[in-house]
């Protein structure tokens, strides 16, 4: 049973979906200070794999994800200095690449649109005339058909997050970037969401980059987990997760490799988190 799941992936994984080469990002404050958020970071994401990125708070994992998404933005207070390159399916990345989707941690549903209209949104952007039926089908397949006419305020946080995921699926990109997408949910809802996410992912095996604080989540979802250092961020450790799929949050904890993987990742993250705390206290002392 394990073989049947892993075999077709071996051929698909020949190509690379994302190549990050020597990416370095520096924030320049207009008042003179500068912060190196990311230092020369290189990694690849294979087509059809789930890559999880973990690390202490403020280590630049979200910044790296935003760079891949083309969402880096300078404002009146800070400027950005970016080195290195990102390639999407072998080509240099561009803004608004339709092959790249993003599921944010924040609620991004339009409050003035119903669940169905929210799911249909990316389809109307594409000019699809069958958008309402297509959105309804997605909702029904997820068991949310009877909530189609509800406004977001009438739905629970978990329900809204599921609608948000369906919206991303309706958009149908080949790569989905997820920045702590389940981070704002309570533990039980989060577990249910993770299992459901794995089931959906298993159908078409899109390429996923998943940034998270939660090591259990990283082991459950990821084919590989990258652990980043405290700021300035770089890759400290890469761990392949050899627990066979299909996985569920219940089954992985029973797998013999689970506790070893968890302690490897935890000792790496903890070391960096300690360093981050010491650095930040040292930084304020130096008046930076």
């Amino acid at each position: 049973m394990e073989m049947r799941v892993t075999e077709p992936r071996a051929t698909a994984a020949a190509g690379l979906a994302i190549e990050v080469k020597g990416l370095a990002i520096r924030f320049l404050s207009k008042r003179g200070g500068e912060v190196l958020a990311l230092q020369s970071t290189t990694f690849d994401v294979r087509i059809g794999e789930i890559l999880c990125i973990v690390g202490p708070s403020g280590c630049g994992k979200s910044t790296a994800l935003n760079a891949i998404a083309g969402l880096l933005a300078a404002d009146q207070n800070t400027d950005l200095d970016v080195d290195g390159e990102v390639r999407i399916f072998g080509e240099p990345m561009q803004r608004q690449d339709p092959r790249v989707g993003y599921v944010f941690q924040q609620d991004t549903l339009l409050p003035w649109r119903t669940a169905q209209q929210n799911v249909a949104l990316p389809l109307s952007f594409q000019g699809r005339t069958d958008r309402d039926q297509a959105a309804m089908e997605l909702l029904q397949r997820a068991g949310l058909g009877r909530f189609a006419e509800r406004y977001p305020k009438e739905l629970s946080g978990g329900m809204r997050k599921r609608i948000q995921l369906l919206q991303a699926l309706a958009h149908d990109p080949q790569i989905i970037l997820m920045d702590e997408s389940f981070g704002a949910l309570d533990t039980q809802t989060k577990t249910i969401m993770q299992n459901e996410f794995l089931r959906v992912w298993d159908r078409d095996r899109k390429t996923i980059v998943f940034v998270t604080h939660d090591l259990n989540e990283a082991i459950l979802l990821g084919d590989r987990v990258i652990c980043m250092t405290a700021r300035p961020g770089k890759i400290k450790l890469e761990v392949p997760i050899e627990i066979p799929r299909p996985r569920t949050s219940e089954s992985i904890v029973e797998h013999p490799a689970y506790s070893r993987l968890y302690s490897t990742l935890w000792s790496a993250v903890r070391e960096e988190a300690d360093r981050a705390i010491q650095c930040s206290t040292g930084e304020t002392g130096a008046g930076r």
Partner: protein, 261 residues
């Protein structure tokens, strides 16, 4: 029957209780007022007499010129406010995308906002005459400034996550306006609108008082000039009723249009 666990119960009066209160309070106020004048504590020449005022009110409401006066003032308010809202919102949106011009004009609009708009009325009378145009201009400036600053506030406060999500979903430019900015601004639009109505009626009436030959302010001016306190107060009641009516209409549309809240 009473357990040992305390429960806080907050008193919220029922709609019926509120209606009864209104039905009793205002007549009681008028009766006390009337009695004080009769006894001689208050002087009728200065505060009027509520019972005579009600008589006057009836007379005003049944006379033919009243409709004309109300029509004139309402027309000034509606035209001025609608034009002001349209221009204020449109310019607010345009200037939001031109940061240099916006910052440059900030102090001008702030000055216009702080200035009592009726102070401009004599100027408008010189430019546009004693007719409705000078009053419409005063209401227009008033609505324009409120809606312009209101538009700035909503554009600045729009949820960045919604914008970022639209970008990742490949939304064409026009959808940002119709699907994010416009609905985001709608609740605030109603707040500004309801705020503006009361002040717009005030602006129009005061502008008519300053110089005109028709409208509610003109009628009030006539009665003040004749020391007719009861007639003046009757017209003040009509103006107040007008403001409440317009506010109710706006609130009705608000609840019909913003079901998603």
């Amino acid at each position: 029957m009473t357990g040992g666990v305390p429960v806080d119960r907050y008193f919220v009066p029922s709609v019926r209780a509120q209606l009864i209160f209104h039905a009793l309070f205002i007549p009681a106020l008028f009766l006390v007022w009337d009695a004080l004048v009769r006894i001689g504590v208050l002087q009728a020449a200065i505060v009027g007499r509520p019972l005579l005022m009600l008589e006057q009110l009836w007379e005003i409401l049944t006379s033919r010129g009243t409709i004309d006066a109300l029509r004139v003032t309402l027309t000034e308010v509606v035209i001025g406010l609608v034009l002001g809202a349209l221009c204020g919102v449109a310019l607010g949106i345009v200037l939001s995308f031109l940061p240099l011009l916006r910052r440059g004009l900030d102090s001008l609009f702030l000055a216009l906002y702080t200035l009592p708009r009726v102070a401009l009325v004599p100027l408008f009378i010189v430019w546009f005459g004693l007719g409705m145009a000078s009053k419409v201009s005063a209401v227009f400036i008033h609505g324009f400034v409120l809606f312009l600053l209101g538009t700035y506030a909503t554009v600045d406060s729009v949820d960045r996550a919604l914008l970022r999500n639209f970008r990742m979903l490949g939304a064409p430019k026009r959808y940002y306006l119709t699907e994010i900015y416009a609905p985001w601004a709608a609740p605030n639009f109603f707040v500004v609108f309801r705020q503006a109505i009361g002040l717009a009626i005030g602006t129009a009436v005061v502008a008519e008082l300053i110089g005109s030959f028709e409208g509610v302010g003109y009628e009030i001016g006539l009665r003040i000039g004749a020391f007719d306190m009861n007639g003046t107060l009757a017209w003040v009641l009509i103006v107040a009723a007008l403001a409440v009516l317009l506010d109710r209409i706006a609130s009705y549309f608000e609840s019909r249009l913003l079901v998603w809240r």
